[in-house]
Subunit: 445 residues, 2 copies
């Protein structure tokens, strides 16, 4: 009989375990053969590391900066110098967060962004359903918002690319209230879209995946890999957990996995209807993360930042992911939302060509000749089934949101999707893990 | 090594088994301790039967009429005489499908209904995503449709009650394309809302649940109850199926359970990303079905049909469910959508009082004194988690719909949510079961 059993060795489960381990008997069951969850490092042939999952840390994410420092890791700022590119019709250079579009389009885009930010600021991220207009906003999609509050097609398209970059989903899939909450939870939409001063500001030397490995290392053999939890029996006295091959007993469980993955566990007795219905309405966004490695960051020669946005090809958002101090360059591209569906179904080789085509459309033919390439289709990962985080369609927050963090008997919930600040980010995973650990500690004393 | 293993003994799985059983070795694994799935009979204290799940059969549902006759059952027309009631402000009497509202409201409602029907008629129910406007309609919710095409609040409210009665969901939860498809799949929205001439025309003597029992009876010990499937291993040569207590091998599997329930099965190898993403975006509607039994159908004395619609109480749609030839009367009420969430969380006694309050608001104080009462909260049923059927939010059909019926290796899919005609109805369950049986038969020869 363990004190606490934690399902999932992503950053949220690891944080919960790290906090409980000093004075409690804790084990962590992880379905995959590695820690990290939606954080995953990759080593290129030349030995350079990169991240194929979550990788950034930025201002306001104090828990994550603290963990990085505590584990002896360090950060470096993402390359953010030179001109960004936007493809809207032709290819144009710009600086700052807002692309270089015509004046009417810029005014339109700015007005819509300002309106969105002003609405988001009004929400309490701990209970977005309590806002006076919560029901109105939860019955609209972000697509409705754009139809109502933008007047030019290019502004709508740019906003849509931004939404894709943040949610890996299309505007019509998202409750407006959820999008507003998400921006508020991460400070603001501008912060979520920004490099310097925003959520894409810093990366970890080595990789974020290596940090997850290091944290898991401190837990030693408390972490069991290749142990997907299939069934949890529970009552007031504790829980009995079955994986494919073993059984475990504990006083408390922390479910630190994506909501949609929790649906793969049979609970006995069954969970309350509201909890079940909530999880069934929290599928993940769709994302394929693609990194091409070049002998050097050649785009910088032309005064380009490596940041590009827009177009009609597979990749519509790119970054210069080159680690400071390394000679080889890295271009990072995201395939998001509906495009991720399409490019998930093709061969690895076809997808690689499509990604390099997109890179070349921004940075020229040199982008077609990387020295190495890697991508990760998170929609095909059996223990994740999408990234970055769960999305909520219309009506979910206001009818089922109150259950999001509420424990059910001895079952506590963590994971970034239960965070108040940093929902969808590693920062939120840490907050949720710490909060769930506090709940368990209180219940055990 | 069985020829075919069918997961789920609802009407779809039973139909598939019935078709394969004469010349194949078939078994059916059912999680619950009874057949029927979302069809469930209940016997009142006085011996009268009723249905707490699917119960109706109507014009165009030829497979179901055929099965009823083949099994020696018979039907009777639902009571559809007298005045219906609508509560919109006060309580008013009306006849026909459209409530007695003011002329401007009626015109508004009729125009919106006509527009909806005209759009639905254009769809091919086998491939709604192929329509020229599919992407536009799939990015709108039914709420968007109502905001755009109704001009009076009462018309919008009435349309919303109708949507609730058909989908057990709110307009903002539904992709417009899905709602149009659903109406087309069931002939028309008018047919789905109508009693005589529509989907609520006839009931089965005894109960629909008794018909499911009878069909299961013809399959003998091929049907195994209390066997929830937890894991399915598969390759080109066949499948290996694990329940909590047993293992089975078969050449082919038919998954004849609601999409959201299929997520409780671990597939090895994991299913293709598109299939997984589709199922994760098909949660069920929310419904509590409530039947009060009275010594006689007293409302008929006042010239009332027992059909009422509207109001602000728990039940907003009622029918006279009294079986022809029985002296005791039955009032049937549905708690749907967001209201079902609310009334799922309360005690059985509190809910009963709320239902009888609603009945009394339509039919007077006599409704507060039933001789018996039963209800079924389908959102709490662990093997169903909602009724009547899966719903689809914006964007699902056009990005993931093509996978709906497509087999994956030796895995075939049935269930009413894979039907072309009668999606969401027992008729569709039969069509899907027959189609999957045909696929398996072809694969085995």
């Amino acid at each position: 009989m363990h004190d606490a059993l934690i399902v999932g060795a992503g950053f949220s489960g690891l944080e919960a375990a790290r906090r409980l381990a000093p004075d409690h008997d804790v084990i962590v069951l992880e379905a995959a053969d590695r820690p990290g969850g939606r954080v995953l490092s990759h080593t290129f042939a030349n030995g350079d590391e990169t991240d194929l999952g979550g990788q950034w840390v930025g201002p306001g994410q104090d828990r994550l900066y603290g963990l990085i420092a505590a584990m002896g890791f360090s950060t470096w700022p993402l390359w953010d110098e030179g001109d960004h590119l936007v493809r809207a019709g032709g290819l144009k250079r710009y600086r700052g967060t807002i692309p270089n579009l015509s004046v009417p389009v810029l005014l339109d885009l700015n007005r819509a962004l300002s309106r969105f930010e002003a609405m988001a600021r009004q929400l309490d991220p701990a209970s977005p359903w309590t806002h006076a207009k919560a029901h109105v906003w939860d019955r609209m999609t972000v697509g409705d918002f754009l139809r109502r509050y933008t007047f030019t097609a290019p502004a709508r398209e740019m906003f849509t690319v931004g939404i894709g970059a943040v949610f890996c989903a299309e505007p019509h899939e998202l409750s407006l209230l959820h999008a507003l909450f998400y921006a508020r939870s991460g400070r603001s939409l501008d912060a979520l879209l920004s490099v310097t001063g925003g959520a894409q500001q810093d990366r970890v030397h080595g990789s974020m995946g290596a940090l997850a490995q290091a944290v898991a290392g401190t837990l030693g053999d408390r972490v069991h890999y290749g142990q997907p939890v299939r069934a949890i029996g529970w009552d007031a006295s504790g829980v009995s957990v079955q994986t494919g091959s073993q059984s475990f007993k504990a006083k408390r469980v922390i479910l630190a996995l994506p909501p949609s993955q929790a649906l793969g566990i049979r609970f006995d007795p069954a969970l309350p209807a509201g909890r079940d219905a909530l999880w069934r309405r929290m599928p993940a966004g769709a994302c394929i993360k693609c990194v091409a490695q070049y002998d050097r960051p050649f785009w910088r020669d032309s005064g380009l930042s490596g940041q590009a946005v827009g177009g009609e090809l597979a990749v519509r958002v790119t970054f210069d992911n080159t680690e400071r101090g390394k000679s080889a360059g890295q271009l990072l591209g995201f395939i998001e939302g509906e495009e991720a569906r399409r490019w998930s179904a093709v061969s690895a080789e076809t997808r690689r060509e499509a990604v390099l085509d997109a890179f070349a459309s921004f940075f020229g033919d040199a982008a077609r000749s990387p020295i190495d390439y890697a991508d990760k289709d998170w929609t095909s990962d059996p223990w994740t089934r999408g990234c970055y985080a769960a999305i909520m369609g219309p009506g979910v927050w206001t009818t089922l949101g109150e259950d999001l963090r509420r424990p059910v008997g001895p079952l506590h919930v963590a994971g970034t999707e239960t965070a108040i600040h940093g929902f969808g980010y590693i920062e939120g995973a840490l907050e949720a893990g710490a909060r769930a650990a506090d709940e368990v500690r209180a219940a055990l004393t």
